[in-house]
């Protein structure tokens, strides 16, 4: 167990390190002219050069990375070059927003996808066609269109939810719910479309397996067989897809966060990367990798729980 934990931690650490090198190189390659962007067209060149030098941009890439790493291991991710915000503080402010979204979407997606997928897989026929149609529509509509329509209808026209902004649960739980409901629903549409198809497909697969017939031959009620045995068998592949959705959402949240004016990680990604705010984006990258590592670990634990065979290896 200890060896397993160590190996796991080791591979996670290597992943973080390699990704930080890759990300840092990739971000520095376009050689963003931070000084010029900040000081504007009017600033004389010497001033721009001075500013860039003050940020260390005149030094070799490897040195800059080494500096970043040396600070990062002390939990110091530096300050934004463009807004002066502390990266750690900024991530601490923004992460709850994005995690609220991702958690909400995962919950909604898991529940709805399993209900729809099991329903379609067991009943087939018209129900199946309907669920598949929902999936196709969810896939086919560009997600920002769905989001924009939801804002106009439910926030602006009906006024059921706020159109923009985020209220932390610590300030008001109902406020929090009302601010994340629409974004969560908007993000859930494509996620449900994908995951429910996977659940349906796995359920059909498991239903066709021998042990299901044998269980039914024992006289166990069909619903019981479905909920106790089929669901568990179908859960593993569905879980993998759900996890991939979750990880993908770190990026997918960009559009939704922008449209709802949510101060999350996604919303900052585009602008900060475009400008070349390396300290901030490195922070975002590190948080993303950490989330991925944690999610993968959780999935492994869940799969082991669902599937005893995986426990041994």
């Amino acid at each position: 167990m200890l060896a397993f934990a160590l190996r796991r931690a080791g591979s996670g650490l290597t992943l973080v390190l390699v990704i930080s090198v890759l990300a840092h190189t990739l971000l520095a390659l376009p050689d963003p002219d931070v000084g010029r962007q900040l000081l504007g067209p009017a600033a004389p060149q010497e001033l721009v050069d001075e500013h860039n030098a003050a940020l260390g941009l005149d030094r070799p890439l490897a040195v800059r990375y080494a500096d970043w790493l040396a600070a990062a291991v002390r939990f110091d991710l530096g300050h934004s070059w463009f807004t002066n915000e502390s990266v750690t503080q900024s991530l601490a402010n923004r992460l709850p927003v994005t995690l609220s979204l991702m958690g909400g979407v995962t919950l909604v997606t898991a529940v709805v996808s399993f209900v729809l997928g099991v329903w379609a897989g067991v009943r087939r026929g018209a129900v199946d066609s309907a669920v598949q149609a929902v999936g196709v529509i969810g896939y086919a509509l560009p997600s920002f269109l769905i989001t924009l329509i939801m804002v106009i209808v439910f926030a602006v026209q009906l006024g059921w939810f706020p159109a923009v902004g985020y209220t932390p649960p610590g300030v008001s739980l109902t406020g929090w719910l009302s601010t994340i409901t629409l974004p969560v629903l908007a993000l859930s549409v494509p996620a449900v479309a994908g995951v429910s198809q996977q659940v349906r497909s796995s359920v059909i697969d498991v239903l066709g397996r021998d042990h299901v017939r044998t269980l039914r031959a024992r006289g166990l009620p069909f619903p019981r067989v479905v909920f106790r045995h089929v669901l568990r068998g179908a859960a593993t592949p569905a879980l993998t897809v759900l996890a991939m959705q979750f990880v993908g959402m770190l990026g997918g949240a960009v559009i939704v966060e922008q449209i709802f004016g949510l101060p999350g990680i996604g919303a900052m990604t585009v602008q900060y990367t475009t400008r070349g705010d390396i300290p901030v984006i490195m922070g975002v990258v590190m948080v993303s990798v950490l989330v991925v590592v944690v999610v993968n670990l959780l999935v492994d634990v869940l799969v082991a729980w669902l599937n005893p065979k995986a426990r041994l290896s």
């Binding site: 376009p30 050689d31 963003p32 002219d33 010029r36 962007q37 900040l38 000081l39 504007g40 067209p41 009017a42 600033a43 004389p44 060149q45 001033l47 721009v48 001075e50 939990f75 934004s80 463009f82 807004t83 002066n84 915000e85 502390s86 503080q89 900024s90 601490a92 402010n93 923004r94 992460l95 709850p96 927003v97 995690l99 924009l148 804002v151 926030a155 602006v156 006024g159 706020p162 159109a163 923009v164 902004g165 985020y166 209220t167 932390p168 649960p169 610590g170 300030v171 922008q258 449209i259 709802f260 004016g261 101060p263 919303a267 900052m268 585009v270 602008q271 475009t274 400008r275 070349g276």
Partner: protein, 507 residues
């Protein structure tokens, strides 16, 4: 618990986790009449006055006072300085200061503070540092009198002292700390607990303020990435006030009942021809070629289609509130492809020439790019657009000087000299340093004339520049100041962002 665990990385991580779960406090309630929530797309680089920019003025006005206050109509009024006067050479400005102002830590605001702030400003290397170029020093005449010494007259000095350069910070705090912990004499103070830099800033009214307190107990500024979200926020009343620039969003705002909107012509949009001496594109050295470009563009159609008619056609770079402004110059160059071709032929380019211009999609959208290249092709000019990476666009244009011209949106402050300094004097937008005898003479005249005699040479300069076709302006853009009906907004002359003083509760 028996023993206290030492702070280890693990407990630190747990702390971070708690912080994550709890989140930070959010912006205050939106429908609270004591609170003003302003939505904006502008995020300040820091709250250090050295980094101040006009577009982010409200952030700074909350926590700092400026030496001179600029009224909505562009005139100057006392603020931290109660009186000012130039000497005859226009190189010495004597400021008389308020005597009852102190910083939060008790440090009095005095001539020493002015000296420290003004002398630091050009040194600190902010984006507006060039506005105090030529500052020789500040003399402390007595405790509340300071004399600003210039190497040559700066006709826009008062403007600058009402803008970025004029914000006065506690001289004891001048340094890095100001970036996130502003320390000024302003009417509000930053609430760091509820501020999340980059997204939300919350300012609370100070109990003790030397002047008339502003009407709101609390001001929150929320930054947005998309104007669409901003407008939705105003429509649902979560945002009290905002400036709307996109044509389509303007039409939403205008048609939405319950919203109040005030139009204002702020920026002009157009081509700045940098290469009037023909370094990159020799053809542009000929005035007739530049005039031909002006004649080639179908401005009325552009105005109608690209910005939904939200603006005024113009052929000059000086704004309507400047002394240099001449209404008839707005229609100097009719859309006349025939005339353009003639001019090109006269200049010896009957077959036109090739032109490559930089394109930043946020300024030049696809439709504008296409329409300009179609119009130019009509007269024989073959235009190619280079789409630039935003992080390096300014470097390509201003450092590498790789392009002969660029489409820009430029503000039109009421002060003539601001436009002269930025667009005409060698430097910023005239980085190739074009000039001619007429320009040189008129600029000298404007610079040194007594205030009431500067208007005529300014007008003359304007006429000359239009005739020489230094620029290819398209139109002045109309923006909408929109409020949810609870706030009255008075636009600020020459600035897209109204001053913080211009917001009052409606009714």
């Amino acid at each position: 618990m028996h023993t206290r665990a030492p702070a280890t990385p693990a407990t630190a991580a747990a702390g971070v986790a708690l912080l994550v779960l709890a989140g930070c406090a959010g912006p205050p309630g939106d429908d609270d009449p004591a609170t003003l929530t302003i939505g904006t797309m502008t995020v300040p680089q820091s709250l250090d006055p050295a980094d101040a920019m006009g577009s982010a003025a409200p952030y700074f006005q909350a926590v700092y006072d400026s030496l001179v206050r600029r009224e909505p109509d562009g005139t100057y009024a006392p603020m931290l300085a109660t009186e000012w006067s130039y000497d005859d050479t226009l190189t010495e400005l004597e400021l008389t200061l308020r005597e009852d102002v102190a910083f939060d830590d008790g440090t009095p605001f005095d001539a020493e503070a002015v000296k420290a702030n003004l002398e630091r400003f050009p040194e600190a290397g902010g984006g507006q540092a060039h506005t105090l170029e030529g500052l020789e020093g500040v003399e402390v005449a007595d405790e509340f009198r300071a004399v600003v010494h210039l190497s040559q007259p700066n006709r826009a000095l008062l403007y600058y002292l009402s803008d970025a350069a004029g914000f006065m910070a506690n001289p004891g705090s001048l340094g890095d700390g100001l970036a996130t912990a502003p320390d000024g004499t302003g009417p509000y103070e930053l609430d760091p607990g509820r501020t999340a830099i980059g997204t939300t800033w919350v300012f609370e009214r100070k109990d003790e303020y030397w002047g008339e307190p502003l009407p709101y107990e609390e001001v929150a500024i929320s930054a947005f990435d998309r104007e669409n979200a901003l407008v939705n926020g105003v429509r649902t009343g979560q945002i009290n006030a905002a400036v709307v620039q996109e044509a389509d969003q303007q039409s939403v705002v205008r048609s939405e009942p319950g919203l109040e909107s005030v139009p204002q012509d702020i920026d002009y949009q157009g081509l700045i021809l940098f290469d009037r001496d023909g370094h990159l594109v020799p053809e542009l050295a000929d005035r007739r070629v530049r005039q031909a470009v002006n004649h080639a563009l179908d401005r009325p159609t552009m105005l109608d289609k690209l910005v939904d008619g939200q603006g005024e056609l113009t052929d000059q770079v000086f704004g309507t509130e400047t002394a240099a402004y001449e209404p008839e110059l707005d229609s100097r160059y009719e859309h006349d492809p025939e005339r353009a071709r003639e001019l090109l032929a006269e200049a010896g380019h009957p077959d036109g020439f090739d032109l490559t211009l930089p394109r930043m999609p946020e300024i030049v959208g696809e439709p504008m790019a296409t329409s300009i290249s179609t119009d130019l092709a009509e007269v024989g000019i073959d235009l190619e657009w280079d789409e630039l990476d935003p992080a390096n666009a300014l470097r390509a244009v201003f450092t590498d000087q790789a392009y002969p011209a660029m489409v820009m949106n430029n503000a039109q402050p009421a002060e003539d000299w601001v436009t002269v300094a930025e667009l005409v004097l060698p430097g910023t937008f005239n980085f190739l340093g074009t000039t001619d005898d007429t320009v040189g003479e008129l600029v000298r005249e404007i610079q040194n004339a007594p205030a009431d005699e500067a208007a005529e040479p300014a007008r003359e300069l304007n006429r000359h520049l239009v005739e020489e076709a230094w620029f290819v302006p398209f139109y002045r853009l109309t923006y909408q100041h929109v409020s949810d009906g609870n706030v009255e907004i008075e636009p600020q002359s020459g600035a897209a962002a109204p001053s913080l003083y211009n917001y009052t509760p409606a009714g």
